[in-house]
């Protein structure tokens, strides 16, 4: 084993950017870490190279534990994204640097330097200064420099990122042949999946500090296990379907069990993936030689070189819920991506606006993760209400539940958990009971680091628990359901939104939850009384109408309401008049320092609405989780590298 990472974790300001990663890379393997920016992949390289200190876990290189060794003793070759050539040295001196540090005799140094410059295709350019070279040449020098003193592993941090397409392709080929020739275990970090497919023996896909899946390019493309990997690698069509004894069903599509369809569970909901090349197009339903999905309108045709790329729009199909490509807010049609080879395109030409029948040759099924809930209980009366309501909703939504008991000691805790377990009973997708001796906020933070949750359910009293709610929303990606007292399963949900991107997220998550309860929804927007512009009213109406469309594709019947006045008062009025038993509120924007604050309108509402469950939805756009981490990662890297050079 060349590189072994064990439960590696790195936190910046309490947020894990590398979260419990374990990975084995064998001798001579070319491993690619693939993920979008901010997913923590570069931090992993820093941890292996020792430029950043790990908070937890171990790094082993060829069986040697280097976790606490300084960078200088790790024998790691690292190529940086910006090359990081020594500007005041010639190319030759750059390449020889590692050797001269190790006091290798001059003759040997020269021999090795010439050998390497030859290997990377820069023979004869040793006397140049770095700034006299092109980007691609500089990157080759960086590679030669990293290889000169024969490192045990080679780490490449987006080495081709800054180069133009043609040079990138050429360097990619060189890189692969050099790596093969030297047989050195290599990790390359990239966000470019084409590069990953091209170079990798195996790929690891990362998202938000977690390593989601590891496998050969082929495995990951054909048999992804998670929704993220399925939609991140290559383009794909992902729908929600059902699996039963007979096979897999997605609306009108029926597929018998074959080897392609992984036996996940015998019954229940599954995600169904089909790649663009698995889509068949024909002028009539009869002409399709595979199960048919429906008739579509061609929305877009684009030239893809060796093949033609199409985007098709299908009308809503009962029982079909698309996951990817995502349906735009306010639309209820289904988008399908397809590719065709030129001869197919010639036989049945299609332009934007043409009609075609759509069939699917082959599908792959993935486990549908469903929703996962965390219920926090400290044994109080309101916590019991939270356990009861959370359990009922989870049962209806087939959600996995983690129950965390905290704030109680010894027997009282055990007795309480016993009771809660009984109350949650059966019918949950999974139940995990944990006890914690930390404060509720700490317990939630730790649990959310272990695994992301969709929803945290908390017994809530606005006088006592406001700051706890803020702390819970400060971490992770979950939304928050506040339960003040014993509540029935909601049948009428009031979704309070303002038009805009965050409002869209609020509607969509509320819809995902409410659809399982069989509840009706009302979308409410409050327009400030001082703003009399007809434009705003129009925009709000359009937005709410879009929300109704988006809810309809989720199977949630919805109506709209617009009120004019002060937000907190108007929502309060609507709540008391409308007989709602669930109020959905969007979280306010985070403060400039990244902190979640509920003071203001939300606090007023929480104080006024004391006898109904309140769902607080976190939008992707609020920045609590995403923005501060990425910025700080970079700053922190600067500081930590200072440590290593002392």
């Amino acid at each position: 084993m060349s590189i072994l990472l064990e439960q590696l974790t790195k936190r910046y300001e309490g947020h894990p950017v590398v979260n419990n990663i374990s990975l084995e890379i064998s001798d001579g393997e070319f491993f690619v870490l693939l993920g979008s920016s901010g997913s923590g992949k570069t931090t992993i390289l820093s941890l292996i190279a020792g430029l950043t200190a790990a908070d937890h876990g171990r790094v082993l290189l060829h069986g040697r534990d280097v976790t606490y060794l300084p960078t200088q003793q790790r024998r790691v070759g690292l190529v940086f994204q910006n090359y990081a050539l020594f500007q005041y040295m010639t190319v030759a001196d750059n390449v020889e640097f590692g050797l001269s540090i190790r006091k290798v005799p001059a003759a040997e140094r020269r021999r090795r330097r010439d050998e390497l410059l030859d290997l990377v295709g820069l023979a004869g350019l040793g006397s140049r200064m770095p700034r006299q070279l092109s980007g691609g040449q500089q990157q080759r020098v960086a590679l030669a420099r990293a290889l000169a003193y024969q490192p045990e592993v080679l780490l490449l941090d987006e080495p081709l990122g800054a180069l133009d397409a043609k040079i990138r392709a050429e360097l990619r080929r060189n890189l692969k042949s050099i790596q093969r020739k030297l047989g050195i275990a290599t990790i390359l970090v990239t966000h470019d999946q084409e590069e990953a497919f091209d170079l990798a023996d195996r790929i690891g896909v990362m998202s938000f500090g977690r390593l989601l899946e590891v496998g050969t390019p082929d495995e990951l493309y054909q048999n992804p296990q998670t929704e993220f990997v399925a939609s991140f690698l290559g383009s794909g069509n992902l729908l929600l379907g059902n699996i039963s004894q007979e096979g897999v069903r997605v609306g009108p599509l029926r597929f018998p069990h074959t080897e392609d369809i992984r036996q996940i569970s015998s019954e229940g909901r599954v995600q169904v993936l089909f790649r663009p090349e698995d889509v068949a197009l024909a002028p009539t339903a009869e002409a399709l030689d595979c199960p048919e999905l429906g008739q579509a309108v061609v929305e877009e045709v684009s030239f893809g070189g060796a093949f033609e790329r199409l985007r098709l729009r299908l009308p809503p199909i009962p029982g079909v819920r698309p996951i990817s490509p995502p349906v735009a807010f306010g639309s209820n049609s289904i988008l399908v991506e397809a590719t065709r080879l030129p001869d197919q395109a010639n036989r049945f030409p299609l332009q934007a606006g043409s009609r075609t029948w759509v069939g699917v040759h082959r599908i792959h099924t993935l486990e549908h993760p469903g929703l996962s809930f965390m219920i926090v209980s400290d044994g109080s009366r309101r916590a019991e209400a939270a356990v009861a309501l959370g359990g009922q909703i989870a049962r209806l939504a087939h959600a996995r539940v983690t129950l965390i008991g905290c704030g109680l000691e010894g027997e009282a805790l055990q007795a309480h958990l016993q009771e809660a377990r009984k109350q949650l009973g059966s019918g949950l997708a999974a139940l995990d009971v944990q006890t914690s001796h930390n404060t509720p906020a700490q317990a939630v933070t730790l649990a959310a680091e272990q695994q992301p949750y969709d929803l945290v359910v908390l017994g809530f009293n606005p006088q006592d628990d406001l700051s706890l709610a803020e702390q819970i929303l400060q971490v992770g990606e979950h939304h928050l359901l506040l339960v003040p007292n014993s509540q029935p399963v909601p049948a009428q949900a009031l979704i309070c939104v303002t038009s805009g991107e965050p409002g869209k997220d609020d509607v969509l998550f509320a819809g995902r939850l409410v659809r399982h309860l069989g509840a009706d929804a009302t979308l409410l927007s409050v327009i400030p009384a001082y703003d009399k512009s007809p434009d705003l009213l129009k925009r709000t109406e359009n937005f709410l109408e879009g929300g109704v469309q988006s809810l309809s594709i989720l199977g949630v019947p919805a109506k709209t309401a617009i009120r004019t006045g002060v937000a907190a008062e108007m929502i309060g009025e609507e709540v008391s008049q409308g007989g709602y038993d669930l109020v959905v509120l969007g979280l306010p924007l985070t403060k400039p320092n990244g902190k979640v604050s509920l003071s203001g309108v939300v606090e007023q509402l929480l104080n006024n609405i004391t006898d109904r469950a309140i769902l607080m939805v976190r939008s992707r756009y609020l920045g609590a989780r995403y923005y501060p981490i990425m910025v700080r990662e970079r700053d922190e890297h600067k500081n930590s590298s200072a440590r290593s050079t002392q």
Binding site: A49, N82, A84, F86, F97, I101, A146, T645
Partner: protein, 290 residues
């Protein structure tokens, strides 16, 4: 095709004349004001010194400069300034490095204190040093009795005073360069096996060389003309602790205008050439950056 078009086009295209204001008084006025201010404030006084120093001829000028007391004052000025520059370069770099790279409580305050010598009257600096190291004071007395080493009224005092007043020059020259420095090169050197001092010397220092040199030369130039602190600290003992600036004052007071002008001229010439070198270094740095 395209070449044909190219040869045809130019005859058709009309070059728009650049618009110029008919009477650019404003622009010329600004230039004239700035330049005449410069001439009046800097060049004329400088020219007068040179004219005055040379009015009795080169031979007399040379005699004034090589007069033993004047010569010794000049030499003392140069060597104390040189020693100060060496110490200041090393310690200033260290200070800048610590201020940029390390986090510690009170860093912000310390960073502001660096500029304090620019604000304190140099006379006060002299008084402070006399209070600290004077022969009647505990520390000064102890140094003299135990080590036979006196600071006040002797060259070490001059060096101390110069170090104090020129403290900001090197620090402020190096600091911004260190802040802007791309750290990945240092990281790269570390992965290649280089340790702290090697990394500093081979990777970081080349970037600091030009700012260091200009900071050092500036502090040297500043030190040559220092008067206020030295006149208090050095005690003005001819042939031992009298610097050039103090000597000039003495000559002015004893109405030897020629002697004063001649030595002043030498000081101005040295400072001026140093400033030219600093200017050249800074231009080269800008070119290097590109």
């Amino acid at each position: 095709m395209s070449t044909v078009q190219l040869t045809q086009k130019p005859s058709e295209t009309r070059v728009e004349p650049v618009y110029r204001a008919p009477f650019p008084w404003g622009r010329l006025g600004i230039r004239a004001a700035a330049l005449s201010y410069l001439v009046f404030m800097l060049l004329i006084p400088l020219a007068v010194i040179f004219q005055d120093g040379l009015k009795e001829g080169l031979g007399e000028f040379w005699a004034q400069v090589t007069n033993p007391i004047a010569w010794s004052a000049l030499i003392l000025t140069l060597w104390t300034s040189a020693v100060m520059t060496v110490i200041n370069t090393i310690m200033g770099t260290l200070t800048a490095y610590v201020l940029v790279r390390y986090q510690f409580p009170g860093k912000g305050l310390l960073n502001s204190i660096v500029d304090l010598p620019l604000a304190i009257p140099t006379l006060v600096t002299g008084v402070m040093l006399v209070i600290l190291f004077g022969p009647q004071q505990t520390l000064g007395a102890w140094l003299k009795d135990e080590l036979g080493f006196s600071i006040i009224f002797s060259p070490p005092g001059i060096i101390l005073a110069l170090l104090f007043i020129t403290f900001p020059f090197v620090v402020r020259a190096v600091q911004p360069v260190l802040i802007d420095l791309d750290r990945t090169q240092e990281d790269a050197a570390a992965t290649l096996g280089a340790r702290g001092w090697t990394v500093f010397q081979r990777i970081t220092l080349p970037y600091l060389f030009l700012p260091l040199a200009s900071g050092a030369l500036l502090s040297f130039a500043r030190a040559i003309g220092e008067f206020g602190a030295i006149v208090i600290v050095a005690g003005n003992i001819p042939l031992y602790s009298q610097t050039a600036a103090v000597y000039v004052l003495g000559e002015v007071e004893s109405e030897n205008r020629l002697g004063a002008s001649a030595v002043s001229m030498v000081m101005v010439a040295i400072s001026f050439s140093l400033i030219l070198v600093v200017g050249w270094l800074q231009r080269r740095r800008l070119k290097d950056k590109k």
